[in-house]
Symmetry: C2
Subunit: 346 residues, 2 copies
């Protein structure tokens, strides 16, 4: 009998927020690397909000995970067998191995990770897809200028904390929004935000808007959008003329029936969004980071040394054991994590 | 007793669609030009949808017309007195003279118009603010590429017809939307659209979407937005990845309570708009043409010769008499005009 691995598959599609029933832990044979392939024993895997979208079968930028298929995830681990000259056993690699203890992929789909430089977990967060998403979206579509004001929600997450730190380094005022007093403290003390508002402390979008207005006395020039919903409704009236809104996600609407398709929201209407874009000359750009990997080397060149030096901080929240990934994921969607959510698989 | 002029003032703010009560014809003394000023006898004035916005006191990119103030308009006429070396009596000038028979403005706020080149009415439409709006928004924010598909509503209006003709000249497929079979015929036969759909023939956004899908077999790459509402709802699901939406107006929402602020629309929701921008990587840009007058000389250089040669067509709908301006304006907001709406004042 061949050696066994574990993986978590999509047992059923969620109706609203995912539940434990939607996931199933399975055993399978460890695959052997075919020509050009590399087998990796996963040490850490990433949990990210985009995975919620993959659980629906709504048309999106990426194909949904099929029912019975392994949940998608980026992960990092040690090469234990290689059929490619590009990787040797004992080296470390990042790849889309999924929610699993092992993964086997073509060498050209992997990125080498050097554990002597930085902890390998950084390849999942601050120097991985989320950090890159924050850096790219802000610099490319946010067009930040010194003296301007930026707002970003989920300010202690791996995207928001990168956005805030890059904005500060460019001379902007950075105002975060986060869920809970602990996160707001972390945003200001560790990530250097000028202020951070606890959205849970404001019952309505109007209340949140009032508090934001006090923290953004010169209005808002860049709203880095990753949540939608109440925060968007609060921010919109405060946007300055010619402000920019990069959109990398809208987590508050992910559970509202197929990624928010057709779901109404009492806080803001379609005409109000459209009118704000028009009368304030806003520039609104949606993007998915996987279309922009040609910029990843530039990101690493600019940002990795600052992470190594401590100039850019990061915080990780590490759950133990693949079997606990569903619980950690469901908790993260409700904001239960503090910093980048990772699962230690080995 | 001094010589008298006529003007139309905002008698009261409209509640929804404007009515005749909202306007009042008044007499006043003809002003004398102060130092640097020029007095013009207006021959033609322009009626444009943006004027509906000026009648509300909602915060917008431009100050509202005060109750009792002269309605705003661009107009063109003959200089009858000048206190500036820049203009001589007998010359023609375009300026923001308002809904009035005469206007007196600083010379630096006027644009000279040469009646020997083209009819002076073209300074109000095809070679005026609307034509410039169409050309600028399409080329700047639409980023059109040969082989792509463009959709624009109000296709026979001065903005939409410019957008369609510029798109065609750049090698795009141009699909118009207009209200009524006559306009659709005009769009195809005079303005060269590949197809034009009568939005009145489709009861729902879904029906319109189905018809649009048939005319846009490769999807939509540029949606030049000037209407909002049902058309926006129909177009959104057909947008291709990386498509562009310049927004210069949203006439279908103008009457919905203060430029659509806070007004709901059954056809499309805020989350659906946001989700489309995200998952299709859309680039959405609002603009007002008055921020971009530095590009007007480039527009004239490129487009005026094509208007003179007949390569770019234009159609004008000319109402007679200042006193009929309110009726012509109210009719235009309902789509009653055929081509650029102008009022002959003298």
């Amino acid at each position: 009998m061949s050696e066994q691995m574990q993986r978590i598959v999509l047992a059923s599609r969620p109706d609203g927020a995912p539940t434990a029933d939607n996931f199933r832990l399975e055993s399978a044979s460890i695959p052997q690397p075919a020509d050009g392939e590399v087998l990796v024993r996963v040490h850490y895997m990433s949990l990210d909000p985009y995975m919620r979208g993959r659980m629906d079968d709504a048309k999106s930028y990426a194909a949904p995970v099929p029912v019975g298929g392994t949940m998608e995830a980026g992960a990092v681990g040690e090469v234990i067998a290689s059929n490619s000259p590009a990787f040797k056993p004992g080296e470390y690699a990042f790849g889309m191995f999924g929610w699993a203890t092992h993964g086997c992929l073509k060498a050209n789909l992997l990125r080498k990770v050097d554990p002597a430089q930085l902890p390998i977990t950084t390849s999942l967060g601050v120097l991985g897809m989320p950090g890159f998403t924050g850096w790219f979206g802000l610099t490319e579509f946010g067009r930040p200028k010194a003296g301007e004001t930026l707002v970003v929600a989920a300010a202690t997450g791996p995207v928001g904390s990168m956005v805030g730190q890059v904005a500060k380094s460019l001379g902007l005022r950075a105002v975060g929004i986060a869920g809970g007093g602990d996160k707001c403290k972390l945003a200001v003390e560790t990530f250097g935000f000028d202020a951070c508002l606890d959205h849970r402390a404001y019952a309505t979008a109007g209340d949140l808007r009032e508090a934001l207005a006090a923290e953004c006395p010169r209005g808002i020039d860049v709203y880095y959008e990753n949540v939608g919903g109440k925060v968007l409704a609060a921010v919109m009236p405060l946007m300055n003329p010619h402000a920019r809104i990069p959109i990398c996600g809208m987590i508050s609407w992910y559970n509202a029936g197929g990624l928010g398709a057709g779901a109404a929201d009492a806080d803001i209407t379609a005409p109000a969004i459209w009118r704000n874009i028009l009368v304030k000359f806003l520039s609104v750009n949606g993007f998915i980071i996987s279309n922009h990997f040609d910029r990843f080397p530039q990101f690493m060149t600019q940002v990795a040394p600052k992470v190594a030096s401590g100039e850019i901080a990061y915080v990780e929240d590490i759950a133990e054991g693949l079997e606990n990934a569903p619980a950690a994921f469901m908790s993260m969607l409700k904001g239960g994590n503090m910093g980048k959510q990772i699962v230690k698989v080995i």
